[in-house]
């Protein structure tokens, strides 16, 4: 679309796992998402940024139907998200999500948090689920805490557990909604490291974040949103060095000077 | 009718009785129900099943009794209940023959020095809630231009307790009940006197609810049978001697000549069984409330019509 700066570039290059076309969403009378077109290829790593309230969270929450869109189509892994509960459940199995506030289940141990969905949704035997959970917990370097409760962990550790929990469903796509913004500064790095590791393994990721260092080092594409629309998308290099739109420039000047 | 069928199908009679009125309905110390009202429940069970134990007793407070019979909670209400027009009509009851002719009286502490109910102006009166007693009391004081303070309590036990604790000057209920209370409940019976005035007519009768005339018949004729038996001198002891009697009336009652039982839908021996197990009216009366019991009640109005009383059985034929 001509309006969207950089839209002329040929994103994505590979096979698309997520396809949004003309997606609109309203909260009551308030138009939060406006004509979102987005296509994500397998293995692509996308960072979404933009000012507060621009609809970033809303957009990625539409991708696993935590929010309902009212116009346009969203197809994830070949399944269209409509009112049909079956489809929604199928999509959710394939899409992992990590929240700003972790949302671990406080009444379950770390291990139980990780095995719950594999056992009840994927119907895995308990032993197998636990084995896999331990594998992912090791990967996020927290295996030794497997039998603690979330409340006994620091924020950074909790967020890593949340990532492991999503990974245990072997998702095809991971969505991150400001995964580090509720963390004390000392803990940001440990979480980002885990995410970088994931990216290096080729996981398809969409990540809302303001950690521009992260964006620069791992993203294939940076998407900038403002007032519910995708204003610009580009490779990190281009995006940071040659922003096209005025809004992007303003935004970048604010966050980089901060 | 539906009630009779239900009772027969169930195999026992559900009978609502007083929870604690000595002589009429009262569990004794070993938990067995005794009393005149209770015996009529048993008599009905005998008529139906020839077994006085095929009864389940439901103790009812005055306030609970009508909802209980209306709703079908009990089949038969034998709980010193006064026959009145409202109860017959809007409460929806059918009253069997009167089993005890009573009247409401007053009991006071001797120390007050009261000799007559006319002297009770301004007294505090303990009375049980939801009874005709409560109404008669109001009427009596109204007609005599006296005032009173009612203390109206739900359960009989509590009413008695309040009176004996001194909360009230006067306890009022049916004269028979007063006698029972004085004999059985008063810490020192001689401290209390029952005033001579009887302020109301209280014919007490078992009742069934509307809607099943056959069942009503069974209860009605069960009562008559006991009265008739006394009239003829048949008792539980000598009933077997009468079985061979040539008197056609006696033959009809005892089922030697058939027909009566069938008409009621009962065994032909129904009356025989009743008399054999429960005795005639006189026996039931003496056993429960008569002069040899703590209540020491005279027959009075409850004597047979032949002796100048009111008990009069309709002919069984």
């Amino acid at each position: 679309m001509a309006q969207t700066a950089g839209a002329a570039r040929s994103f994505p290059k590979g096979e698309a796992i997520i396809q949004c076309q003309g997606v609109h969403k309203w909260y009551g009378e308030f138009h939060v998402l406006k004509n979102i077109d987005l296509s994500v290829a397998k293995g692509e790593r996308i960072v979404i940024c933009g000012p507060s309230g621009s609809g970033k969270s809303t957009m990625i929450r539409c991708l696993n139907r935590l929010e309902e869109h009212q116009k346009g189509s969203i197809v994830v892994d070949g399944i269209e998200l409509t009112g049909n509960l079956k489809n929604i459940e199928l999509v959710r199995r394939e899409v992992g999500m990590v929240f700003q506030h972790f949302n671990l289940f406080p009444h379950l141990t770390v291990l139980e948090n990780c095995t719950l969905a594999p056992i009840w949704v994927r119907k895995k035997p308990k032993a197998e689920a636990e084995e896999m959970a331990m594998r992912y917990l090791k990967r996020v370097r927290i295996a030794e805490q497997a039998h603690k409760y979330p409340g006994q962990l620091s924020g950074g550790q909790q967020q890593r557990v949340a990532i492991a929990r999503s990974l245990c469903m072997s998702p095809k796509v991971m969505l991150f909604d400001e995964p580090t913004s509720a963390l004390d500064p000392e803990m940001v790095k440990e979480v980002l490291d885990v995410m970088i590791g994931l990216a290096e393994d080729g996981m398809t990721m969409l990540c809302v974040t303001h950690e521009m260092g992260f964006a620069k080092s791992v993203a294939d594409r940076v998407i900038f949103m403002d007032r519910g629309e995708i204003v610009e998308q580009n490779t990190p290099n281009e995006f940071f060095n040659h922003p096209q739109s005025d809004r992007t420039k303003l935004f970048l000047s604010q966050i980089l000077n901060h | 009718g539906p009630t009779l069928d239900a009772v027969k199908g169930r195999g026992f009679v559900q009978c609502g009785v007083n929870a604690g009125l000595p002589g009429f309905g009262n569990p004794d110390s070993s938990g067995n129900w005794t009393g005149l009202d209770v015996d009529y429940c048993r008599a009905v069970a005998v008529a139906l099943f020839n077994d006085p134990n095929k009864v389940k007793f439901t103790p009812l407070s005055a306030q609970q009794r009508f909802p209980a019979i209306q709703s079908g909670e009990v089949d038969l209400l034998s709980r010193n209940t006064t026959v009145t027009l409202t109860r017959d009509t809007s409460v929806g009851l059918n009253f069997a023959p009167v089993t005890y002719y009573d009247g409401q009286g007053f009991m006071v502490n001797k120390k007050l020095g009261v000799k007559s109910a006319k002297e009770l102006n301004g007294a505090t009166v303990c009375v049980q809630a939801g009874t005709t007693t409560e109404l008669n009391l109001a009427d009596y004081f109204r007609t005599n231009n006296m005032s009173y303070n009612p203390v109206v309590i739900e359960s009989n036990d509590e009413v008695n307790a309040a009176y004996f604790a001194g909360r009230c000057d006067v306890l009022t209920t049916d004269a028979s009940g007063l006698a029972g209370t004085r004999a059985g409940v008063a810490p020192v019976p001689d401290d209390h006197i029952i005033l001579p005035e009887i302020i109301s007519k209280e014919p007490l009768a078992p009742a069934v609810r509307h809607g099943d005339d056959q069942w009503f018949d069974v209860v009605k004729w069960t009562v008559y049978a006991t009265i008739q038996a006394e009239e003829m001198g048949i008792t539980s002891k000598n009933v077997d001697e009468f079985v061979n009697s040539k008197n056609p009336e006696i033959q009809r009652i005892l089922g030697t000549s058939p027909g009566m039982g069938k008409a009621l839908g009962l065994d032909e021996k129904w009356a025989y069984n009743i008399i054999k197990t429960m005795g005639n009216y006189g026996e039931i009366f003496e056993r429960n409330v008569g002069t040899k019991t703590p209540l020491k009640l005279e027959r009075g109005l409850n004597a047979l019509w032949t002796n100048g009383g009111l008990q009069y059985a309709m002919p069984i034929r």
Partner: protein, 399 residues
């Protein structure tokens, strides 16, 4: 700058429509129809049976009986009542008696409960311990048992009426209750009432004026003592001006009972004390947790501004604590009102007891129980609405 996407109007209906059970709207409709169906079926079944049973037993229905003469006496009543009045009026007497014990009970329980709740937080160890002992004991014993206890206590430990205690001249305490003298009728009482009314209006204006003055000059006015002076002073002046009559209607033992004065009956005393003592224990907990819920930082902030402890409590802590206190307090008020139905067991003529007598004399069980339930629902609803309104009024505005 790239032009913005136009705001498009919101589409009226969602896109695809399908009719499988996994479609949430279909599913929702299905479940709701199912549940409503079941409820209607059960309701119809019950009503049908009831009507059927009633007609079979030829039991009269309807509320016509309310006009009939009640012809039973009632021990205590706020309005004139005589056995020749109607059942409707008798029921009204019961309702008023229930309201009387509920309202007085609510007020007293609030006062006592607040005192005990504050006492539990007292820095005085002894008082705090005593208050928590009270709460732990009273809360954990059935109210009915406590009622029986209070009733037995008055009826058994008070002297008989002839040997009534006479602690103050004219005041008599016996098994019949507490008799206290009231001033006998005199025009001056009317004048005093009028003077009091004027004083109340005066206080309202005084408060307005004091507030305005403080806003203007910053000087606070001793409004508490001034109002008190006005409230006592004006009627007193009226009393003296009216010739200061001293005639009292003193209760006298006449015949069986005291005549004259006003009486607090043992039944009313037992139900009132029982309810107040019981409910106060719960209110104490509500008050305590309400005060604890106000962050200590609030007190510190007020102190740091130089506001003294009394004003801190009044201006900062209490207004916030109230917001926490009001909702649970509402349910305590409701409980107290509903528990007043226990009066039945000790002979206080509340609405349940009178309705029970009525339904018993008339045989109108369904109507009677419906009236009991309906009245309580109305009272409960009234309390809830009032307290919710109050709660809304004081609710915090959040982001």
């Amino acid at each position: 700058m790239a032009s913005e996407t136009r705001d498009t109007a919101r589409p009226s209906a969602p896109g695809g429509v399908s009719f499988s059970l996994s479609d949430p709207t279909v599913r929702a409709v299905f479940y709701q129809v199912l549940v409503v169906g079941i409820v209607i079926a059960v309701g119809w079944f019950l009503i049908h049976n009831t009507l059927d049973n009633l007609s079979k037993r030829s039991i009269a229905t309807g509320f016509g009986f309310l006009d009939r003469e009640a012809s039973f006496g009632i021990g205590e009543s706020l309005i004139d009542y005589h056995p020749r009045d109607s059942y409707g009026r008798a029921f009204l007497v019961g309702v008023l008696n229930t309201l009387k014990v509920s309202i007085i009970g609510v007020v007293l329980a609030t006062v006592l409960g607040t005192l005990i709740g504050v006492a539990r937080l007292s820095s005085n160890w002894l008082i705090a311990k005593l208050a928590s002992t009270y709460v732990e004991i009273v809360r954990n014993i059935p109210p009915l048992l406590q009622l029986f206890f209070w009733y037995a206590l008055v009826s058994e430990s008070m002297p008989p009426v002839r040997q009534a205690l006479n602690p103050i001249p004219g005041v008599f305490l016996s098994q019949r209750g507490l008799f206290v003298p009231v001033p006998s009728a005199d025009p001056v009482w009317g004048t005093m009432g009028f003077a009091l009314a004027i004083a109340v209006i005066g206080v309202i204006f005084l408060r307005r004026w004091a507030k305005a003055r403080q806003e203007r000059t910053g000087q606070p006015f001793p409004i508490g003592s001034a109002s008190l002076g006005l409230l006592i002073g004006l009627p007193l002046i009226a009393y003296i001006a009216g010739g200061a009559p001293t005639a009292l209607d003193v209760p006298k033992l006449q015949g069986f009972n005291f005549v004259g004065g006003v009486v607090l009956t043992p039944e009313f005393f037992a139900i009132l004390v029982g309810l107040v003592v019981y409910t106060a224990a719960f209110i104490a907990e509500v008050v305590r947790s309400g005060i604890l819920a106000v962050n200590w930082g609030q007190t510190e902030a007020a102190r740091a501004l130089g506001i003294d402890s009394g004003k801190t409590l009044r201006l900062v802590v209490l207004p916030q604590a109230l917001r926490v206190i009001v909702p649970p307090l509402t349910s305590q008020y409701l409980n107290l009102t509903k528990n007043s139905s226990l009066a039945l067991a000790i002979g206080y003529p509340d609405l349940v007891s009178i309705a029970n007598t009525t339904l018993n004399q008339t045989g109108q069980a369904i109507e009677g129980v419906a009236m009991i339930m309906g009245t309580y629902l109305v009272i409960s609803l009234g309390i809830s609405i009032f307290m919710n309104w109050y709660n809304k009024r004081i609710a915090l505005v959040e982001r």
